[in-house]
Amino acid sequence: MAETAHSEGGLVFHPLDQFQIHPLFGDGPISWYTPTNATLWMALALLAITLVFVVGSSARALIPTRMQSVGEIMYSFIHNMVEDVAGHDGARYFPMIMTLFLFILFVNFLGLLPGSFTPTSHIAVTAVLGFGVFIFVTLLGLYKHGLGFLGLFWMKDAPLILRPIIAVIELISYFVRPVSHSIRLAGNIMAGHAVIKVFAAFAPIILISWIGVIVTPVSILAITAIYALEVLVAGIQAYVFTILTCVYLKDALHPGH
């Protein structure tokens, strides 16, 4: 570690190295099926979800254990969100939305473990999620309402002259949705992790220079603060992604404004 630091002229600044994807076994090229660190951390998220939701609830206890209680709280939370935002007929899509929420939440939180890897910091992952939701919701809207789904872009309560203009704006904003939906998640997670890494790179400065007497405690404090913020962001981004999915679902089910 120290050797590398000196070779780079004192400090190591590679805040993006933590996002590197590498094969779990060996050092070959990454083909589409190679198990990588991304695979590992997605699998760990799956395992954690299984522990809480399948093993935790296996007793089906009327008076729940702590683990079962956690599962029940998350279940009620998302179920209420789907019903409140997307309406009663949105409850059919509750398992899908729960899958998205739990995947993002657990991957985000596991990514906060030191030395771990966060699949949701990759645009490839969040774009699949975001565009997946977009395509699903659009097809669902067209299937349910046919061309009536296009009424989503035609504001009936706006003045007639403004309607075509608003329709164009609405159309653009509709197609920007998946982009913002996926970049918001990846951007937030990536930025937070990168900032922590930058401060972490400043922390060992005390080994090199006397100025570290000040810089090291400050950067350690900063890591702590950013970490706390990241814990918040991990939950909030999962929540935001889920509630936006519910909003888009509502648009597909009830395109009338």
Partner: protein, 177 residues
């Protein structure tokens, strides 16, 4: 650990770009993401969510049932209290009635006894009055006899000749006062 870090560092340095924009890893990430999501969806929709939903519904049901049972029990308690109060009131009125009856009986007996006793007393008083009258009459006769005898003796002692008829008339007159 140290070796992998160095390796990654050199990789990152040689790549010189964000790993997020390394398109060569995209098929791999997307493949494993889809695998994870499919497994997760099946796991949740087939096992976890129906189970938790069932438990929540069951709990709601049992809470409702418990509340209903509690309501029923309360109603029962209220009914029991009302029945108790009714019985108490009935017993009270019954007791009152019995007391009144007993009182009336006693009154009746008392009146009868009083009448009987009054009659007996009246008889006794009458008897006593007759006896007293007899005695009084007897005493008056005796006094008249004694007075006649005494008067006759007195008359003869004073040297007179006692005339029975005259003496009897005198004494009788005197006795009449």
């Amino acid at each position: 650990m140290a070796s992998t870090t160095t390796e990654q560092a050199s990789e990152g340095a040689s790549g010189g770009m964000m790993p997020q924009l390394d398109f060569s890893t995209f098929p791999n990430q997307i493949f494993w993401l889809l695998v994870t999501l499919v497994i997760l969806y099946v796991l949740l929709s087939r096992v976890a969510l129906p189970r938790i939903g069932g438990v929540l519904a069951q709990r709601k049901g049992s809470i409702t049932a418990d509340l209903r049972a509690a309501d029923e029990a309360k109603q029962k308690a209220v009914d029991a209290e009302r029945a108790y109060n009714d019985a108490l009131a009935r017993a009270r009125s019954e007791a009152g009635k019995i007391v009144a009856e007993a009182k009336a009986d006693i009154q009746k007996d008392l009146a009868a006894e009083t009448v009987k006793a009054d009659a007996e007393i009246a008889v006794k008083v009458a008897q006593a009055a007759t006896a007293l009258d007899e005695i009084r009459a007897g005493a008056a006769d005796a006094i008249a006899i004694v007075a006649k005898d005494t008067a006759a003796e007195l008359v003869s002692a004073l040297g007179g000749k006692a005339e029975t008829a005259a003496i009897t008339a005198a004494v009788t007159a005197r006795l009449k006062g």
